[in-house]
Amino acid sequence: MFLLLISFLLSVTPGSPENSVASSKKTSSAKSSKKMKTGVLPADEKIVVKGHRVFIRKDSTRDTTIVKGEKLRESSSASIFETLSHESGDIYVTSRGVSLHGVASGSTGGIYIRGLGGFPNSQILIVEDGVPDYQGIFGHPIPDAYIPDLIDKTLVIKGGDSVLFGTNAMGGVVIMNTRWRKSDGMDIFSDFSTGSYNTIKNSIAMLSRTGVWDASAALSVFETDGHRDGAQGSKLVGMLSSRWRLGNSMILSARSRIMHISGADPGPVTHPTPDNWYDVWRGSVSAGFSIKKSIFTMNLIPYLNLGQHKLYDGFKSIDVVSGAILESRFRFSKELCLISGTGVEIVDGHVENRISDEYTSIDSRISPALYSQLTYKPFSQTEAVTGGRIILDESEGPVFLYKAGLSQVLLDYFRLSTGISRNFRNPTLRELYLPYPVANPDLKPEYSLNWNATIRFITDIFDISSTVYRTSARNLIKYFGSWPTAEVVNIDSYTVWGVEGKVRIKNIFGFSPFIMGNFQDVGRYTKQNPDGKVDFGIDFTRKFGLNSLKITVSAQYIHGLYMDNYSRNPMDDVFYIDGSIRYRYILSGRKISIEPYLILRNLLDNQYAFVEGYTMPGFNILAGVKIGI
């Protein structure tokens, strides 16, 4: 509460944030729109720092979705992952309440991309500034851990890319890059909101750039009583990043994050379990050393991620994920670029039951790997990419992964691309050793072979794309049966065919309507793997001098949702509409912006649920003000 009070006081102090960046943003957006006119290669797919390019996207033949940080910050969705699910038809994310996804039984926030992911939520890899981010024992990310204020943009690689990112990048990779200030000065943002169910959301962030030093810091606090018994929870996330730029050729950086979340599994509405609490502490540190000399760029990233999870039933775990990545890039010419790297990752943990005083033995896992990717542009509009990775797996021995892709720009407005990749996931320590509900130390790694072909049409007004994809996997790890006779085994093979599309019309008299959809045939493995999903809505923006009004209405419809495989236990279709309205007011002559906003969720007050028995809240609202200095 003390932190809340301080942040609130700071939030009501006159000042201005995002819009001291507003002028620079305006310039960069003008530049980017100018660039867009010249062709279809989106200018926003890379970020630029002074004299040194940092690429968020290393393979332009992969099918991706980019979500800008501003979109994440302004979204009416309750979490970053839910925002991502509104940005592409083939990304499906579960939810259970007004914000916290939680951990352990009853948790949500699982990302499904083209038939993979979700449960176990370890087939989609989250990468923050080049560092894989997941819980060591259970292998899943913590969906509540991310602060939109410090995210520059998010890139979702659909279909995965284990060649560049290693284990867990089976069905997709979500890459987040830290937001830095682009010119000297300092911005402070404060965002305070409150609403239904005694929900309080507050964050304060700072971006600073002084000479060769950059710093980004944020503190985010969230509390809610939830829409029903057991849905209450709180989280506190603090993050600090700093960067030292030595001329145009060298960057040293460091990033740290600490978070605490606590809440409960409310259980199905028919049989609530409000006392099933969890308490999670996690911390991570990473460093970056980047050097660029002529055609050569090298990055070294050591990292450490550890956490403590406690549950109501006496469960306590401490997990550690540590490793290092050394990657070099040789740009021999405009046509030829080679990325080579090596990495090693160590995953370890400790599990005990504090009530029964039982201890479960866990063997740590070490995975060294070598990888390489070659990009060749025989013509200015053509790009071919191929790559491979060798992982020395403890159970399988050497594992070879590969990928290939081709993209071609036609008539300046069309882009065709296709790609195939063989991806990989190690069984988690939980699946191997922990009886929740059952373990199997003989499990083999999972493999996927994903293919897609995409056609995209981009002009100043239209952004239209369509993708046909095939996801095939073998050795998938699945749980069958129920306690105490459950089993976890590798299953033979799994194939998904699907088609995904998007139409977005940009800024016609301030209106930007969009619709995107995905339809897939997932065969027998229908558990939380919906047949179809459609997202649609409209953005409206109107400028009044320096001030601006933004209204967004978005809807999501999900069809063919089952709670079990083999099309058993079907659920009602999901449909809901969210809306938001924001007015950004710039105090003239002063670098201060004040942005009151109102977020309206589930406008039609529909009853729906992503997970059986976990009914989502009815109509609820959140009102706040964002102040920037």
Binding site: R228, P268, H271, Y436, W483, I621
Partner: protein, 138 residues
């Protein structure tokens, strides 16, 4: 003034979401020797044991449809079983663990915003509940 109006409208709207939740009270009228506990209905749970004729406090539940789920303990059957067991053995009396069985109402009740519902549990109106989730997790 306009700001105050806007703020108060927001607060009313915000608070309204929770205040308008349907209120539900459950009464145990099953039988004089039957106790019920762990009573739940559409998102709310009462941590209480109800003797015959007792009622829960009003609970704010989600709108929608559900049956009332509860655990039932038949005191007469327990005493009867205990006496039979103690007759059959000459050793010192052992206290038998009371068994609470999962039950639910036969009827599904629908509740909506602003409504007040008094749900009465009766002997004829209950059945065994096999929908209880399994005990595993993590």
């Amino acid at each position: 003034m306009r700001l105050l109006l806007l703020l108060s409208s927001f607060l009313i709207l915000s608070a309204g979401c929770e205040e308008a939740y349907p209120e539900v009270v459950v009464v145990n009228m099953i039988r004089e020797d039957i106790l019920v506990r762990n009573i739940s209905f559409n998102g709310c749970q009462w941590d209480t044991v109800l003797a015959f004729g007792d009622s829960t406090s009003p609970g704010s539940c989600l709108k929608g449809s559900d049956r009332v789920h509860f655990e039932k303990f038949a005191a007469a059957a327990y005493v009867e079983n205990s006496e039979e067991d103690s007759d059959s053995t000459d050793t010192e009396d052992e206290i038998e663990t009371p068994l609470w069985f999962n039950y639910q109402t036969v009827t599904t009740h629908h509740v909506d915003y602003g409504e007040f519902h008094l749900i009465v549990l009766t002997y004829e109106g209950m059945e065994q509940d096999f929908s209880v989730p399994g005990p595993y997790g993590h």
